[in-house]
């Protein structure tokens, strides 16, 4: 739209026509206060805090509902305006309790800030305040009615942004009150958006309320460890007896791709980290019982046993199972450790998407993968399979709000009527398992349509399959998102079909926080990092030295081998195949089993040695989300007695007598300059350190520094050569698959979707009180069925 020029406080500024005055002011650094205005939500004009004087308009106007126009002359601050704002604050404080010293929001409350800026110390109101007891609306949402200032942000974010519509306003005028959808309780997605967006302490969270004060915590913005979407969550930590305790997860840091969004898992399901069942010392099986031991004893035993098996029976008798929740650095190190130190290709992980097929289909296509941010801005989206509302909450949020704010066209093809159909331009229901046929049909195979037609139905307009295909192929910059229903040749089909669509991008959905990273880092029996085949020579064979070339055993292969008594040792890092993939735990009874985990899982109980691991909130490194967006993971919490998986792998390699310098590129020829040579100007040394860090040149002095492995990943894994500076600044950097290795074709049944809901999260979710309490509260009320 054309630009208009206006004057605010004597400053000339230009903004696109249609911009709200409050936003135009913000763009030149003039802050207009407001409670009810919130970007990207509908306008309310309820709080009257943003009143400004506009020349030629009779009264003060609300800047949040006024659209800029040519030649407008605005005053944002004057005695008249300050007086108006003061009166508004006085009215708001009329019934607002003065319990700031105990209120959760105290210290980060917008009403507090406004009162300091505009409020009066005295009030004309003599009336007694109308007290109402606080109410618990759900396990995670509490409502303290007198604190509410009726800005309606919670109502709008729940309805418009989340499409849940669980909050409303009842009564009228001064007796207006925010109400939950089930009269005295909430039945919703429990995302907690209403709590974060509340400018005061009216809505508080069950996980955090009355625990601590905002200024007593350190706030660490890191990446959520649950699903594969890669939301940034800000963890509030404080010192505790056992190290650093995580007391809060929220959206204070809005710099992630998730912007305002977090689901229940990112916001509340950090609590598994504080669970009393955490392992905090190594366990060694003695006389058939797992017995607490020292780290020294454990590492010595593991090192000796694994070296013995490797030397006597050969590396092919050792199996390694990696994790979808460890960092890229740990996954890469494990992949390298297996090949270089254990001399085995028997490496696997819990696969939830066919990334090798995806990588192979996208070779040579640098612009063909979508970022999470693209999903919010693309003009059109095709979603095949999956139910993002449950399994990829951020993705669902991005899609929903792209449709709402940018009028994107959404085409949903699914076997069940998923919630996102409500945003869809077109919803086509196909029989379960026919997603692959749809991919083939899209690729031009008309015969494949036969199995699709039976259930086909559309919303709003009646499109038959042919018309739908015509519409899709006529789109531009279409993002095609698909779940694990599409595997192998289906993925090739869908990628090929889109070769006719200019600017088409793809997004392959996997279930865990670093499922993509585990795949990219080569936790496969036949693939090295970057989807290079283990069997054919690649740069890894040169860099890593003598590594086995015969493809190893996948998970079922390892089970068979163990049954035959051939698998002598199994090393499981952060994975629970017995619990999650229903393996028979007795299969490995003859093998020497080492498990690194944070809890005594079904897999850990059958191990010979169990090592207590730190979780992703307790270490540093990087995660790659399901779109391929690389982000920095920062250490927030700490539990005494645990070690990161990274450190444990290094120590096991060390205990096996391996030269650690060949595993981790640390130290080296570079002499560390800690700033001593730059004299008395200490600031200069600091600046130098920042410069070194952003260029990936800071001295890696320790073999336990994951950044040393990140150097190697960035150098060797295709697509990971991204801006280190941007990564360290907390932004996401997109990795592409264009230069990957050729990949391989895997059996479709090797993919086992996690099928997590909003309230489950693999083994981890079982240890989260927040998630469990929500599920328990639902079980009691099974008679009530949600509207959607």
């Amino acid at each position: 739209m054309a630009d208009v020029t206006l004057t605010v406080d004597g400053k000339k500024l230009t903004a696109p026509a249609g911009t709200l005055l409050i936003e135009a002011c913000k763009s030149v650094g003039i802050e207009v206060p407001s409670f009810c205005y919130y970007p990207n939500l509908s306008l309310q004009g309820a709080c009257r805090m943003c009143l400004v004087k506009i020349e030629k308009m009779p009264k003060l106007q609300t800047a949040c509902t006024t659209v800029v126009s040519e030649g407008m002359v605005v005053t944002s601050d004057s005695d008249e305006i300050r007086q108006a704002r003061k009166s508004m604050v006085e009215l708001l404080l009329g019934n607002h309790p003065l319990d700031c010293p105990v209120c959760d929001a105290g210290g980060e409350c917008e009403l507090q800030d406004m009162t300091f800026s505009y409020g009066a110390a005295e009030s004309k109101f003599m009336e007694a305040k109308n007290h109402k007891e606080e109410q618990q609306w759900s396990p995670v949402v509490f409502f303290d009615r007198p604190r509410c200032i009726l800005c309606y942000r919670c109502v709008r974010v729940c309805g418009e942004a989340m499409d849940v519509w669980a909050l409303g306003v009842q009564n009228r005028g001064v007796s207006s009150v925010i109400a939950p959808n089930k009269q005295d309780h909430l039945e919703c997605e429990e995302c907690g958006m209403c709590i974060d967006i509340c400018p005061v302490g009216a809505l508080t969270s069950g996980a955090y309320r009355y625990k601590t004060r905002p200024w007593e915590m350190k706030h660490v913005g890191t990446i959520c460890t649950h699903c594969g979407d890669g939301c940034k969550t800000t963890l509030g930590v404080r010192r505790a007896d056992t190290g650093m305790e995580i007391v809060r997860g929220d959206n204070r840091d809005k710099s992630g791709t998730n912007g305002d969004f977090l689901c229940i898992k990112g916001r509340y399901a950090f609590d598994f980290a504080n669970h009393e069942d955490r392992l905090t010392q190594p366990l060694i099986r003695k006389n058939g019982k797992l017995t607490p031991s020292t780290w020294e004893e454990a590492f010595t035993l593991i090192g000796k046993k694994l070296a013995d098996v490797r030397d006597k029976d050969g590396g092919q008798t050792i199996g390694v199972i990696g994790s979808t929740r460890t960092t890229n650095e740990e996954a890469y190190l494990l992949s390298k450790f297996a090949r270089v130190v254990l001399k085995t290709n028997n490496v696997d992980h819990h696969r939830t998407a066919d990334f090798p097929a995806f990588a192979s289909a996208l070779r040579g296509k640098p612009e063909a993968t979508a970022r999470m941010a693209d999903v919010f801005s693309a003009p059109a989206i095709l979603l095949i399979g999956n139910d993002p509302t449950d399994q990829h909450p951020l993705l669902a949020y991005q899609i929903r709000n792209n449709v709402r704010l940018h009028r994107a066209r959404l085409y949903v093809v699914n076997s069940s009527p998923i919630k996102l159909r409500r945003q869809a331009t077109n919803f086509t229901q196909i029989p379960a398992g026919a997603e692959g046929k749809f991919a083939a049909f899209l690729a031009g195979n008309d015969a494949a349509a036969d199995g699709l037609a039976s259930l086909s139905k559309t919303k709003d307009e009646s499109l038959d399959l042919l018309a739908l295909r015509g519409k899709l192929l006529a789109e531009e910059d279409l993002i095609i998102i698909f779940g694990s229903e599409l595997r192998g040749s289906d993925i090739a089909n869908i990628v090929n079909s889109a070769s006719l669509i200019p600017g088409a991008k793809f997004l392959c959905l996997a279930d865990y926080a670093n499922s993509r990273g585990a795949a990219d880092m080569g936790l496969y029996p036949d693939l090295l990092p970057g989807y290079h085949a283990a069997a054919t020579s690649s740069q890894f064979h040169q860099e890593w030295g003598d590594i086995p070339q015969t493809p190893g055993l996948d998970l079922p292969g390892m089970v068979n081998s163990a049954e035959d008594g051939k698998l002598k040792a199994l090393y499981v890092v952060g994975s629970n195949p017995v619990g999650r993939l229903s393996l028979d735990p007795f299969v490995f009874s003859k093998s020497f089993v080492v498990v690194q985990d944070i809890f005594l899982t079904e897999t850990a109980v059958m191990a010979d040695v169990v090592l207590p691991a730190a979780n992703a909130y307790e270490k540093s490194g990087t995660f790659t989300n399901t779109c391929g967006d690389l982000q920095l993971v920062k250490k927030a919490g700490e539990v005494a007695g645990t070690k990161s998986d990274f450190e444990m792998i290094v120590r096991i390699a060390d205990a096996m007598g391996f030269d650690i310098k060949k595993l981790i590129p640390f130290g080296g020829a570079m002499r560390a300059d800690m700033g001593q040579s730059r004299g008395a100007q200490s600031g200069e040394a600091d600046r130098h350190a920042v410069w070194l860090e952003m260029h990936g040149l800071e001295p890696k002095l320790s073999p336990l520094d994951p950044m040393a492995i990140l150097d190697e990943i960035q150098r060797l894994v295709p697509g990971y050569d991204v801006s280190r500076m941007n990564l360290l600044a907390g932004n996401s950097e997109h990795t592409t698959l264009a230069n990957s290795g050729p990949g391989v074709t895997h059996k479709p049944e090797s993919i086992l979707p996690a099928n997590d809901t909003l309230f489950t999260s693999g083994t981890l979710g079982r240890y989260s009180r927040a998630l469990n309490s929500v599920m328990e509260s639902r079980e009691v009320k099974t008679t009530e069925v949600a509207a959607d």
Binding site: W165, A166, L167, G168, V169, Q170, N171, R172, A179, P180, N181, Q183, A787
Partner: protein, 160 residues
């Protein structure tokens, strides 16, 4: 949930008059209340599903309008105006008189479920103040004696 045929005809005729279904909410609620007497949970659920709204949205609207109620009322809803014109002409006296006679207060219902008393804002009958409205019928230029006669008549009608 079943409504009368009359209601169904009205509803079917009304909905297409509006650009969106939800616009028909307030008249639908009024018709339903007239028929059932109040807006029960069942009525709310039915209307919500007919108009593609959540029950919460329907409740929000009901709670906004004082003429809509979710609690059962007596057969005759006596609404006495105490706004300025009626007040200066004795509206409050009429209200107190009704309260004493019926033995109930504001928004209360008699034990025999015949009368509900309500103090209401202006009903637009200022020229004939003080005025009261019983269900949809107006009674004007009231005095306590006239009010007595009116209530007795309703009682007779209600117990026949």
């Amino acid at each position: 949930m079943k409504f009368s045929e009359e209601f169904e005809t009205r509803f079917a005729e009304m909905v297409p008059h509006y650009p969106t279904k939800r616009s028909a909410l307030v008249p639908t609620l009024l018709y339903a209340q007239d028929e059932i007497g109040f807006l029960s949970d069942e009525v709310i659920a039915e209307i919500a599903s007919r108009l593609d709204l959540t029950e919460l949205e329907v409740r929000n609207v009901i709670s906004y309008y004082s003429m809509l109620t979710t609690k059962p009322r007596g057969k005759f809803n006596v609404q006495v105006c105490t706004n300025i014109s009626c007040m200066v002409r004795g509206g409050e006296e009429i209200l107190h008189h009704c309260a004493n006679k019926l033995g109930i207060g504001h928004k209360q219902t008699t034990a025999d479920d015949l009368f509900t008393l309500e103090e209401v804002e202006c009903i637009g009958a200022c020229s004939w103040a003080p005025a009261a409205q019983v269900n949809y019928d107006f009674h004007e230029n009231l005095t306590p004696e006239k009010m007595d006669r009116i209530l007795d008549e309703y009682r007779k009608k209600g117990t026949q």
